[in-house]
């Protein structure tokens, strides 16, 4: 690679009157050089692999990436000097790391969308599984959507007040041993395996209501056990981000502490709090084990959280996949629905954050 059409990027040295002499304009590779190296790297890799045997896409891309990184860095070292070569190498590594991290995400979405699309549709979303057996391809997940939304909603209703108030206590009031213990226990709670939460809820309700009791609220309690520490942690972080100056400004206006917390601290951090809550919902909405244990599965819609089994999307997907046949398609479509619900929740959270975030625009 020759560098004939270089444009100087550093300003020309001032015609120094004896004082500071700047380094003369640096030689740079042209803007299209990285692209040329990328294309060249892939072509060379293809040629080499074609000579050696059968080229695969992964092989060509992998070898091409290595050739690109080495070629660009070495050329840059000779044309532009050591500092720019290091810069190009670092840029290359960071970009590749990003692309590498993107691969599982994209492929997961791709698989779920392509396989889920087979059955996904208005009928699938709006019917339940009553009277569907054997190889029948009808049936849908309306009952599981209702169950998932009800149970997750109930878990949110339990977790958010507890989590919010605990976080407020820890940030605004908590001092000394009690606060330290709460923080420690929250950390421990974060690590509870979900099946343990399920067993806890199961035995709790069995102790109180007897062994035959089954209800959606059992699952909600199990999920809230997993959700609460996440809510506490994220809200705590958000509250600590609120500058102390704002608290002082409010207190100095003669505003009582509780009103300062409600109207200044929470108001300033509401965007982050909503995001944190949504993340915690996303964390538990796909939980299978505790729900399998507590609420089980049924074929029709159950609107009553306090009586009877309920269907939920993850458990439904698990059971259908187990059955095989058309069940596998149902499982993928249910998984797609679950992802769409989470995305929808995130979208709502974004809108809420946008609405409430501090106004900084002029």
């Amino acid at each position: 690679m020759t560098a004939t059409d270089l444009t100087p990027t550093t300003p020309a040295a001032p015609d120094g009157s004896g004082s500071l002499q700047l380094v003369p304009a640096q030689k740079r590779l042209p803007r299209w050089a990285p692209w040329a190296f990328a294309v060249g790297g892939v072509l060379v890799a293809f040629a080499v692999l074609a000579l050696a045997g059968r080229p695969t896409i992964a092989g060509v891309l992998g070898l091409g990436a290595v050739l690109y990184a080495v070629g660009l860095t070495v050329t840059s070292r000779f044309v532009e000097g050591a500092r720019w070569a290091t810069d190009r190498l670092a840029t290359t590594l960071v970009s590749f790391a990003f692309l590498l991290a993107l691969i599982p995400l994209v492929s997961l979405l791709w698989i779920v969308v392509t396989r889920g699309a087979k059955l996904f549709g208005a009928t699938f979303l709006s019917t339940d599984m009553v009277g569907v057996y054997g190889d029948m391809t009808s049936g849908g997940i309306w009952h599981a959507i209702v169950g998932t939304l009800l149970i997750t909603g109930a878990a949110t209703l339990i977790s958010v007040p507890i989590g919010l108030l605990t976080a407020i206590y820890l940030v605004e009031y908590g001092r000394g041993a009690l606060a330290r213990w709460i923080t420690f226990l929250v950390d421990v709670m974060t690590g509870i395996p979900s099946i343990v939460a399920g067993l806890f809820a199961f035995s709790l309700f069995t102790l109180i209501f007897g062994p035959a009791y089954r209800a959606g609220i059992m699952g909600a309690v199990a999920l809230s056990l997993l959700m609460t520490p996440v809510v506490i942690r994220s809200v705590e972080e958000m509250l600590r981000l609120v500058p102390n100056e704002l608290r002082e400004a409010s207190l100095a206006l003669g505003v009582p502490k509780w009103l300062t917390i409600v109207k200044v601290v929470l108001r300033t951090s509401i965007a982050g709090i909503v995001t944190g809550v949504m993340l915690s919902i996303a964390r538990v909405i796909g939980e299978t084990a505790p729900l399998l244990l507590t609420v089980g599965l049924i074929t029709q819609v159950n609107w009553d959280l306090f009586d009877g089994r309920m269907a939920t999307l993850p458990v439904f997907a698990y059971r259908q996949y187990e059955q095989g046949g058309v069940g596998i398609d149902r499982a993928w479509a249910a998984a797609l629905t679950l992802i769409l619900i989470v995305m929808l929740l995130n979208l709502i959270a974004r809108l809420v954050s946008r609405l409430f975030s501090p106004k900084t625009a002029r």
Partner: protein, 259 residues
């Protein structure tokens, strides 16, 4: 609208640490009192005891008396929130509420306290407060814009407007100009000269020219060494303090021989 404060034998603590010791001073109404002294000598700490903001810090407490027109601010039955409504405060760094517009910032003292206020009263309060802070002409066309979009000096005057909107008796200013450029500083100093007709003003400043320019009385604080408590060395009319102070330490500080 202004009251005098008599402080006697006030000791200020952070936990067990005695930060300011034995302050006795009288703060006259309708005048500007400047607190000067080297860093860490307890000027700001002392200032914050005058509206009980000091005790917001965990473990901080106070011994002694601070009497505002016959009422001891530290009497057991006195609500610190009520004290802060009477004694307003402006901080070193401008701190408008970022979630609020300029109008809402001025009304913060009313709105945050859940007090109801009619729309016309609110408009009037916003205008008089902003005019009182010499900011009205600059922002009257953009009252619904966020307060954080103003320049530093404008933000500080917005904070002053916010403080005087709750109609305090006393206004405390903790180095209000230290984050501002000379022109904004001048605007705030002019404002102080106007405000002292109505309010008792106490200002902490590191800038001795500023103290000489704006204040009627000056108090000099000093500290014997790190870990020792700060003390009030002397207090007097600003003219006297800057021409012929009675203490050697004051003269050394004012003439720039230390600090």
């Amino acid at each position: 609208m202004s009251k005098r404060i008599d402080v006697s034998d006030l000791n200020v603590y952070y936990g067990d640490f005695l930060a300011v010791e034995g302050v006795t001073m009288a703060i006259e109404p309708r005048s500007v009192t400047a607190l000067i002294g080297p860093s860490g000598c307890g000027k700001s700490t002392f200032l914050r005891t005058l509206n009980r903001m000091h005790e917001v810090i965990p473990g901080a407490h106070v011994q002694g008396k601070a009497v505002m027109d016959g009422q001891d601010l530290y009497a057991p039955d006195v609500d610190p929130v009520a004290v802060r409504r009477q004694v307003g405060m402006v901080f070193q760094r401008p701190n408008p509420f970022p979630t609020m517009s300029i109008r809402e910032n001025v009304l913060a003292g009313v709105r945050l306290n859940n007090k109801r206020i009619s729309k016309s009263d609110a408009e009037e309060l916003v205008e008089t407060s902003l005019q009182g802070a010499n900011l009205w002409n600059e922002v009257k066309d953009r009252l619904d814009r966020p307060g954080s979009g103003l320049s530093g000096g404008q933000q500080q005057r917005l904070c002053i407007a916010r403080a005087i909107a709750v109609r305090p008796q006393v206004l405390l200013m903790d180095e209000p100009c230290s984050a501002l450029d000379p022109i904004s500083t001048l605007a705030i100093e002019d404002l102080m000269a106007e405000l002292k007709d109505e309010y008792t003003i106490v200002i902490v400043t590191h800038n001795m020219q500023q103290a000489a320019r704006v204040s009627d009385r000056t108090a000099f604080f000093n500290i014997a060494g790190t870990g020792k408590p700060g003390r009030l060395i002397e207090m007097g009319d600003t003219a006297t303090m800057f021409s012929s102070p009675s203490e050697q330490a004051t003269e050394d500080y004012i003439s720039g021989r230390f600090g």
